[in-house]
Amino acid sequence: MSVFVLKSGASADEVLKGLGEVHSLSVGRRAWETLTYRDTFDWRLHRGGVTLTTSGAGRNTRLAATPPHGGTLRARAPKMPAFASEIPPGPLQEIVHLLAGTRRLLHKGKARWLTLPAAVLNEDEKTVARICFREGTALPADSGDPIEMPIRLEIIPIKGYTKEERSVRRFIRKNFDLEEEHRSEVAAVFAALGVHPGDYTSSFRLELDPTLSAIEASRRVHEKLFGSMLANQEGLLADWDMEFLHDFRVAIRRARSAASQLKDVFPPIAVEDLRRELRWLGRKTGPARDMDVYLFRIPGYRESLPEGADKDLEPLVRLLREKKKKELGMLRRCLRSARHRRLVKDWAVFIDGRKLGEDPGPEAHRPIAAVASERIWQAFEKVIRKGGDIGPQTPAKALHRLRLDCKKLRYLISFFRSLYPAEELDSITQELKSLQKHLGEFNDLQVQQEALRRFAEELMETKRGPPATLLAMGQLLGQLEAAQAGERAMFHQHFSQFARPANRKRFRALFGPRPSAPPDREEESA
């Protein structure tokens, strides 16, 4: 498809009149439509090359998606779907669900379009090319003034009729004042509205110069994490989907890790205060996230129970929903508290940097490349040491601590990944991820068992858990225990894979201490 924009003064009617003199045309009806462009908070559809629009409302909700291989998928829904799972089954639902998963489909932009289609016909009245005029007005979310966009003229080829399309294109280009438009329609709308697709991603990405001072580089790491925390706050408070709270927590955890792993870079008192407050905030977010995770697991629990017993979990689901509501309420209060406001203010001052120079830590002015390598190497050695101490009888707590050490190592690598060759870093990150996955599963199974026991007690005490529910929960406990024992038996295999000499060599090559320079030859001979 070729797209042009009409320069000032030119109108669709003028182009159609001119084109109609040399080609047989069938001009369609002008139609208005208001499109809302939807995507997940972290732009999963955009990243997957899909544009999703909705129009209409209530029972007359219409959806359209353009998949990467071209064409348009359409669907109707009985109400505006908030999630992919609420779209009626079909190809559109499949592609949106594949990309968006359980994330909410948020309003990212809105525009009103006046469309005028026309078909260029051959002597059999067969359409051999299409043209379409799209006159758009971008509508800002804050009910600001509508923004008129230039008229788009799309020339759409029909397969097998390229010659005819070329001739139409040549004629239009020659006779009218147009400019080629390389942006897609959605890109033009976002540009008009000042929306930047892809401006948020949950993975940590930061470009750093290796010669940057450690304090400046670490400040930038904090700045990024601070931004990520704030970005997720609105969705968390509104409970749009469970990923907001998750990403909010990850930002806090990463920031805590950045504060403690790089504490010798920052002013000691400031960093200590920040660590304390971040720990407080992290703890406050825990219970609500736990409820999200338990509720998310319910379908899996249901599936693992024998047919018929899956309904027995309903009292547990109700309990979890109540708890989620309560914990979210507490978290909302916490996020509106004076202590949280102070944390945000102090953290903002911290990353502003002006005060950081007043009492810098001993490592503040070393190049970040050297400091980062030292910290990563230390964190790696700690993982190797602690993992090596774990034997078949070591209590589960040690595995939990090892999991946290792995997380710290992973965070450090992600903060400073731009300082190292990407390919090598990716391969060691994969190794670390696989160990983390195993430790995560082991810990998860442990936490689930503890939680199920707690909930079972609560259901009994409050007389809300009929015997069938408690029996079903007992069955789940048995399955979790067996799965955890299986994971435990695999620990040695997973850890040995990570700690094997070849992997250590790769870590050493990237982050290990550099051998000191050989003594000067002349000095030696003297």
Partner: protein
């Protein structure tokens, strides 16, 4: 890519109307759809106002000497393309006969299209020939429009016999009644005779309607001008039922 072929040994039973309307409906539901007009009469091409001509010749196409994709034409409808008929298709049997493994030839030339389309609907010429046998090899199922007359039912039995004898791979055979006129006692009676055919019929019947005949005058799929008409709704139900049969593994399949 799922491959369906509308087929009947007998002509004039509504094969092409079925292929055109079902393909149109499938594309409307978001499936990338291609119709191959394999009937030298070129009725499907005519319905879409596409010239029944293959540049380079139909024989070369079937020999695999032509770029198939470059011969495909877009219809007036989004997501629906057509590989036109060619008068030389009448000699395809001779061409296929020259190929190394003639029965596998159609499957072989269709391979490159598998990624581009979700559904291929082949509108076959009537009669049993090397071409139709090669289509049986390539297709997932035959849709067999059957007029409720004893003669039509007899040709269906002939088809089943031929399929048995050819020993072709696993192939669905989905007959359904077409051009049904309940006012005619012959039609009423014969529909009951379906019980004597050893394979199940799709439940949906396509009623006889002059609107289907008008497709030829309007040169367009039925839904574009009579969306809420009885036959249009019947084609929708037929497509739904075919989907259901595939999903649930219902219907008759040759052993393969």
């Amino acid at each position: 890519m799922r491959i369906l072929a509308t087929y009947n040994i007998k002509g004039g039973v509504g094969k092409t109307a079925t292929a055109v309307n079902l393909a149109y409906l499938a594309s409307l539901a978001g499936n990338r759809t291609l119709i191959w007009d394999l009937d030298p009469q070129g009725a499907a091409s005519f319905y879409f106002r596409i010239k029944p001509k293959i540049k380079g010749g139909g024989e070369k196409l079937v020999r695999g000497d032509l770029d198939l994709d470059a011969r495909i034409k877009g219809t007036d409808f989004e997501g629906l393309d057509l590989l036109p008929a060619d008068f030389s298709y009448r000699n395809l049997d001779l061409e296929l006969d020259k190929a190394k493994k003639p029965l596998k030839q159609i499957s072989r030339i269709l391979k490159p299209l598998a990624e581009d389309y979700d559904l291929l609907m082949i509108d076959c010429a009537p009669s049993i020939s090397l071409v139709s046998e090669s289509v049986f090899r390539a297709a997932d199922a035959l849709l067999v429009p059957t007029i409720p007359t004893p003669l039509s039912l007899r040709t269906l039995l002939q088809l089943l016999k031929a399929l048995d004898a050819s020993g072709c791979k696993r192939l669905g055979v989905f007959p359904f009644f077409c051009m049904v006129d309940r006012r005619r006692s012959l039609h009423r009676g014969t529909a009951d005779l379906a019980g004597e055919i050893p394979i199940p019929f799709l439940e949906t019947e396509i009623p006889y309607s002059s609107l289907v005949e008008q497709m030829g005058a309007r040169r367009a799929p039925l839904h574009t001008f009579a969306r809420r008409s009885k036959p249009a709704l019947a084609y929708e139900a037929l497509l739904d039922e075919i989907r259901e049969w595939f999903r649930e593994g219902r219907g008759y399949f040759t052993k393969g």
